[in-house]
Amino acid sequence: MSLEEHAKVVEDLVKEFGDENVYNTKVPRVYRAFAHVNREKFREVVEYLKEKHGFTHITTISGVDMGDSYEIVYHLRGDGFSFSLKVPVPKDDPKVPSIVDILNGAVLYEREVNDLLGVFPEGHPDPKRLILAYDWPEDVHPLRKEWDIQKIRERVDGKRWGKDVE
């Protein structure tokens, strides 16, 4: 496959969903692509990529706290081609549609994002806690920028502790 063919996949996606739903596309080199996708059209985009272009594997899902919003990055892969879909999520409504019924591999990653960043996967079959400790408070999401280490310890252990305190 060549760079032109890979760029064509991205162009095809923009043509199918319109540049208001798929934007900021980038194909920096062969076998690599990025795109921003609107949250409302996201499930359809993933389904389209899976059916039409063979992106049948989800490598991982990462979450970023951008300051004024969250950004959930879905790393799709098909035939060696890595496609990262970035979904902006507003802070006052931290939810994303679940894609577990389309790509089964997302089942644990979505729970991890829900634990660490507090972005809830709507429609997930079993959205319980995955990696945080059992006595961890429900509302503390350690990768959110508003939580620093001493704030977390004050909330979880009832006191500030560590090398900066004692």
């Binding site: 400790a133 059992y134 280490i149």
Partner: protein, 139 residues
Amino acid sequence: MSIATWARTHSPWLIHFNAGACNACDIEVVAALTPRFDIERFGALLKGSPRHADVMVVSGSVPRKIRDRLKRIYEQMPNPKFVVAVGSCAMSGGVFQDCYNVMEGVDKIIPVDAYVPGCPPKPEAILDGVVKLLVSAGY
């Protein structure tokens, strides 16, 4: 030296506990058990059960989830019991200091008798830690 102290310090049986270590310290502990370094010349023997052990060798930065297990395994050991913290992580959290999920050291959870610094410590250093512990216990 009483006969009980003599017997205990000449056969310190070990239990090895990995509290979230990256395996580097564990490999050095295993190396210390091999004939090249030969921890067995002090009567030390690796045991599979905490109920048979006198010395607990702990490596790792003690994540929050393993805290209760560490305490429970420690409580299963018969008295008198000793703890050796192996590696920077087990001493102070090491590079994982200020992580939200890390308790920063074994001594936050259970009392520690000997610290072995290093990332990872050499097998000789682990041997030295165990021997210093035995001397302090009246070898």
